[in-house]
């Protein structure tokens, strides 16, 4: 570790992993509620468990992004963090605010939470993924602004690299688009239209910038490939992400009462959205193939390749599967959406955060890479989580296809609840895969505590016969 203040990232990563565990535990509860409808009812109804599951995901990914920025920005900018104390302060504020919000979801009925937090003054609650009380949302904005100020000042007063500039753009975009969460008009169509400015322009827009820059950073470190080459790839990937993704928002405007031109605009541009993910896979494969050194941290390389492939699979392929308006007419709001959501979030954002954790954690603990035994355990956790997520996705896809057929496509359509009983077998299998995911996660945590001999870098030999 070159700069003292990079170690602040450790705090953020530990919190991220802790919240990740919480997210998965609630995921397992939700999976069980799908088959045993009254499980934990009425103490923890489905909507509460789901809110905890999705909000924990968002919060721990934000912790992950912030930790990643605190780790890589000082090194890239070649200076200490602008205000390390601010980063630590914001960590505790964010953690306490996040924990209180989750406890609020669990301990009091949601309507009571809305009342205590005086939602009527500025109503923002009760919309999917934006369920946080208004006061928490304001807290998030404060934390994000302090964070961006800190990171921004470090970047702008230090060495500027393409990676840090792209990261900063992504983070500023994240903060700006979050502001739309405060706009909650009475008109349902307007509400929905601008709700997507947060949700879509985050995950299919600016978050892709963050993801690509984190991936590029780790790949430079573990492969030793020339920065010029990596930066060219980075630019073209994020160019494609925004060119396809901005108008691609239209694929959410098909059935909410928006004008008809969104049908084809949304279809055409969102059909291009797999391209940046496709290129990310090509990019990761290419630079790993042309690596100029064999970094001792094999696990980090595996995560980097894994996130590229799984993002392509989850966000790219499974997104394309139901993005064209004529298909989406039948699949909109079915388990197909759930299948896509699970693999896309895992492949693109969970895995990229785990990539940077895998690369940076050993360094912050004073070694170049975790010991060989720990890495083997970590790689086992990689495969268990990744393969079980593929199966979760496949089972939900199966459930979704059957649901579409029985409830939407058939000439004699069944009711929603009757259909749900018909697809129960898939929900059981999904729950099984979910438990294996949990085992993988436990193994992941264990990997941090496995003892063994340190692995050293075997001389950063640059092979001469590289064709550029």
């Amino acid at each position: 570790m070159k700069y003292e203040s990079q170690s602040i990232a450790k705090l953020y990563f530990i919190a991220a992993i802790g919240l990740f565990v919480g997210q998965i535990l609630f995921g397992v509860i939700l999976g069980l509620q799908y088959v045993i409808g009254d499980f934990l009812f009425p103490e923890i109804p489905f909507n509460v468990a789901r809110m905890v599951h999705t909000n924990l995901l968002i919060v721990w990914l934000l912790f992950g992004f912030m930790g990643a920025a605190y780790f890589l920005v000082p090194e890239e900018s070649e200076r200490e963090l602008y205000a390390p104390w601010l980063a630590k302060l914001m960590f505790w504020i964010f953690l306490v605010a996040g924990a209180l919000t989750i406890l609020g979801y669990l301990l009091v009925p949601y309507a009571t939470l809305a009342e205590i937090t005086m939602n009527d003054l500025l109503p923002t609650m009760g919309r999917e993924f934006l369920e946080q009380p208004t006061i928490t949302k304001i807290g998030i904005v404060v934390v994000l602004l302090a964070f961006i100020f800190n990171i921004g000042m470090t970047i702008l007063t230090g060495r500027k690299t393409v990676i840090t500039l792209v990261l900063l753009t992504g983070l500023v975009g994240l903060a700006v688009f979050f502001l739309f969460s405060f706009y909650n008009p009475h008109n349902l169509v307007l509400d929905k239209y601008f709700w997507w400015f947060v949700v879509h322009l985050w995950v299919e827009g600016v978050w892709e910038l963050i993801m690509a820059s984190l991936l590029a950073y780790v790949l430079i470190k573990v492969t030793g490939v020339d920065r010029e080459v990596i930066e060219k790839w980075l630019y073209i990937i994020i160019a494609m992400a925004l060119i396809s993704g901005i108008i691609g928002t239209g694929h959410h405007f098909f059935w909410i009462g928006a004008p008809d031109y969104w049908q084809w605009l949304g279809s055409v541009f969102s059909a291009l959205e797999p391209i940046p993910f496709f290129m990310m896979t090509l990019f990761a494969f290419n630079v790993v193939n042309k690596r100029r050194r064999d970094h001792p941290n094999k696990a980090a390389t595996l995560w980097a390749l894994g996130t590229a492939v799984m993002a392509f699979l989850g966000a790219g392929v499974w997104g394309f599967l139901h993005t064209l308006a004529p298909v989406n007419f039948y699949t909109h709001g079915t388990q197909i959406t759930a299948a896509h959501g699970h693999m896309a979030f895992y492949g693109a954002y969970v895995m990229v955060v785990l990539t940077i954790i895998s690369y940076s954690m050993p360094i912050m603990r004073g070694r170049e890479a975790a010991n060989a035994r720990a890495q083997v355990v970590e790689m086992w956790s990689f495969w268990l989580m990744t393969v079980s997520m593929v199966f979760i996705t496949l089972f939900l896809t199966g459930a979704g296809i059957l649901q579409v057929y029985l409830q939407r496509y058939s000439e004699d359509p069944m009711s929603f609840m009757a259909t749900q009983e018909k697809v129960e077998i898939f929900y059981w299998m999904r729950e099984g895969a979910g438990l294996i995911f949990l085992i993988g996660l436990i193994l992941y945590i264990i990997s941090f505590f496995v003892k063994g001999e340190d692995v050293k870098m075997l001389g950063s030999s640059v092979s001469i016969e590289e064709t550029s």
């Binding site: 896979t281 494969f285 193939n289 392929v317 896809t397 199966g398 296809i401 057929y405 016969e465 064709t467």
Partner: protein, 119 residues
């Protein structure tokens, strides 16, 4: 990594072959396969471009059989009007198709560096 320095033209042709193979699997089927066959005719045995042209043809022929034949069998055996047929066909086709694409991507990257698949 690689032992023999391969000449530029061969690497270029190997890259073209691998790209044609990838395109045939994705946005430009059939036409790309014809292009791949034309590239294959220009190559000589035991060269890297020949290797990648043959690999591309193999990937695509196997993919065609595995994707279309098996899917067709599923539809034939399961019946066109059974929802379960479509559960299997769509899930199967999507995941297996993607595996072939990822494989072809790796082949392309190896062709760019003038290597065989594994060395």
């Amino acid at each position: 990594m690689k032992s023999v320095k391969t000449d530029e033209l061969q690497i270029k042709r190997a890259s073209d072959a691998a790209l044609a193979s990838l395109l045939n699997l994705t946005i430009l089927p059939v036409i790309s396969f014809i292009a791949l066959l034309l590239i294959h005719r220009k190559t000589q045995a035991d060269t890297i471009d020949h290797y990648h042209a043959v690999l591309g043809v193999k990937i695509n022929v196997i993919a065609a059989v595995v994707l279309f034949l098996v899917s067709a069998l599923m539809i034939l055996l399961g019946g066109f009007d059974s929802p379960w047929t479509w559960v299997y066909v769509i899930s199967y086709f999507t995941i297996v198709h993607t595996i072939f694409i990822v494989f072809a991507l790796w082949a392309l990257v190896r062709a760019w560096s003038g290597d065989r698949l594994w060395s």
